[in-house]
Symmetry: C2
Subunit: 424 residues, 2 copies
């Protein structure tokens, strides 16, 4: 089994609920020895009606159990459709396995409340971040995570086993259930001599730090804050839904940074927490954006300024994150940063990362800003590839959570297997 080549699909939809990505991979080997080749991918947006319904159940607003029950089926059919499309388009003769992340509609991780006490200005935080001996407090509340998109429907349509519900096992042993891609980042991008960072820019953005020559136990990874989520919400609100996002960052690039807004953004308590930490729409969704819009309503800033400041906020999130990696404090401790996720297509966001890297450049230790494309993995496919790999790890019985990353008490096999039989 381990040496045999498997055709594995990875299916996912991010926190922005834009649509479904289906990636077909060829996977050879198992565990850390896995080799992955991307065969192709299909991305299909949800219909406006379905997306609106998904955003509605994600919101804190009331919904009905029946609506969630029907969405479980409808999203499952959507995922199955997109999977069938990639199979057809690539002319695949068989699919051995599918990993389906599903559509997250709620994610309530353990709230560690590990506060870095102190103000959030860039300078102070940089100092604060290194001191882990500040007072902390463990909140007790019920955690949970909900992904929808019935795996049985995908299994019935594609006639192969489907692994899904990847986040539950990690949370069942005390973890955040996120991020789960660091293990796959390690498999794909580890390097004997170079320290690398993989920066995913999605609705939420997450970073993985891969120290040179290290095993998976030394990986640092966590959600750094929002990527597109806040920008998309601003675009929708301020154009009254006429624009759903800032295409290619065109507006942001001509905007100005508004200091009071940037201060308000960077006051979000999530930024002050030490990892393990994960976030979602619960922290950075429309509700939060609406509060900010209402707070600064009287300023009448143009949309471009809001978006530009939102991008600067992303830069701040990155900086705060990279300061948490161990090493000298006057420069970032890595030689390459590899970007992925849909946000990479927004030059205004990429610019923020490039600007940060000036810190290293000015000290004669430049950082190469790369994209996963440089490693044969188109930026849009990276998440899908990860869930294909995690599905393979599940059926191979390889634990793929990283306790130091998620806060879990132990290593667990991620995912639940839906195999309805009759596959041949």
């Amino acid at each position: 089994m381990a040496r045999k080549s498997r055709i594995v699909l990875g299916l996912n939809s991010g926190t922005s609920a834009d649509g479904v990505d289906a990636v077909a991979c060829e996977i050879v080997g198992r565990g850390l020895g896995m080799k992955v080749k991307v065969l192709g991918h299909v991305q299909r947006p949800y219909s406006a009606a379905l997306r609106d319904r998904l955003l509605a159940v994600m919101a804190p607003a009331p919904t009905r159990t029946e609506e969630l029950c029907r969405l479980e089926t409808e999203v499952g059919e959507e995922f199955a459709d997109v999977a069938a499309t990639v199979v057809k388009r690539l002319g695949l003769k068989r699919v051995d396995l599918i990993g389906s992340h599903g559509q997250t509609i709620c994610h309530l991780p353990p709230d560690y409340h590990r506060l870095i006490a102190g103000p959030t200005s860039r300078h102070r935080l940089r100092v604060g971040a290194t001191s882990r001996n500040r007072p902390r407090f463990d909140g007790t509340r019920v955690v949970g995570t909900l992904q929808i998109g019935d795996a049985s429907i995908i299994a019935a349509r594609l006639r192969c086993p489907v692994v899904h519900h990847f986040r539950q096992a990690d949370m069942a042993v005390g973890g955040q259930g996120a991020p789960l891609v660091p293990w796959t980042d390690h498999v794909l991008f580890r390097h004997p001599n170079k320290s690398r960072v993989v920066q995913n820019i999605g609705g939420i953005s997450n970073v993985t730090y891969l120290p040179a020559g290290s095993g998976p136990d030394n990986i640092i990874a966590f959600d750094i804050g929002p990527g597109n989520m806040v920008l998309d919400a601003l675009a929708r609100r301020l154009t009254h839904d006429k624009e759903r996002f800032d295409r290619n960052g065109r507006r942001a690039r001509i905007g100005k940074i508004r200091a009071p807004l940037l201060d308000a953004l960077t006051c979000h308590p999530f930024l002050e927490r030490l990892p393990p930490k994960s976030c979602g729409r619960e922290e950075f969704g429309v509700a939060w954006v609406d509060r900010l819009l209402s707070k600064f309503k009287s300023r009448r800033w143009p949309l471009a300024d809001w978006l530009r400041t939102g991008c600067a906020f992303f830069g701040t999130c990155c900086m705060i994150a990279y300061c948490l990696f161990p090493g000298q404090h006057d420069l970032f401790p890595f030689q390459e940063i590899i970007l992925c996720g849909g946000g990479v297509n927004n030059p205004a966001l990429v610019f923020e990362i490039q600007a940060l890297m000036v810190v290293n450049e000015s000290r004669g230790r430049p950082v190469d800003v790369l994209r996963t494309d440089d490693f044969g993995i188109p930026v849009q496919t990276k998440e899908g590839v990860s869930f294909a790999m995690l599905a393979a790890a599940c059926v191979d019985r390889v634990p793929a959570n990283l306790p130091q990353v998620t806060g879990a008490r132990k290593h667990v096999v991620l995912g639940q297997i839906c195999d309805i039989g009759g596959n041949s």
Copy 2:
């Protein structure tokens, strides 16, 4: 594996959301050759607070996604607790496998709308039931089913694989996702010379008809209508929640049947449908009961009369059901009826069945009214035993849905496997 003895737990909670049943079984063999011995069981009611929250999300009333997300965890912990209790109480050294049905909070099966056109009086329906050439109409709507109670939590706590989400695969191939116990009824109760009926009386009641000497393809089974669900709702509403159910049917036994109410009850369109059919709170929940209460408000009948009439309605549901079994039309085509489910503890309901059997007795072909206890399976444990058996069938890759029962297009393996590893 097939010959080895396995200790398997079955966990479930019925549509009434009373609490969790955990049954420990020893299972030897696989597929139709499975032999099952009940080792013990624990039943624990939900706390009043949790039950109220579950009933709230089951109702058509608004809820929040976050509430469902938290309940998924809380019910999972509840199931794990009860499972751990049965393990401790029986002093089990190991558990090999768990089948957890979870708590159904929504079930929307395909609506076949196969109407038996014609009035619903007992006599006319009996005739009508045999004619399958009446006009029918296939509704198209989105189907789905939601069971909560995170399997990962159970797997982490009990350190063994957990099979859950039993209904999805059958629905993914066009089935009702219910009933699923007929396959286990066949394994447990089939007889070479006697035709048997297994009558489960739960919140919803379902029947399995096992013709003498037949294979699983000849089983007829379906939900017949409510069991306790309507009686419980009546007791709660009419006592303003002071009584949650009619203990031992004490009130029903002294009540009178009210003809207009019985007529109104038997007008429910579910009774007119031909199998495959399944029902739930969506058809017979509080909303329906409230409409009846409001319709007959002016009558001022005592609670006992409402309950007695509710029991008579159960009898009607049984009769309509048993008339759908093939055979001579002047008597029921079976020699034994085996009762199970919590409703067996309500003598007023059991009386309805005994009264029906007079049809056969008067023709010199008496029917033995038995309980699953007579076969070593306490009535309260029958559902749990079934999900233990279905879990074993899942890991053994044995398809356990019956297409002629559920309406599915094909046989499928039921259940999804959650095995987080580190079990030894």
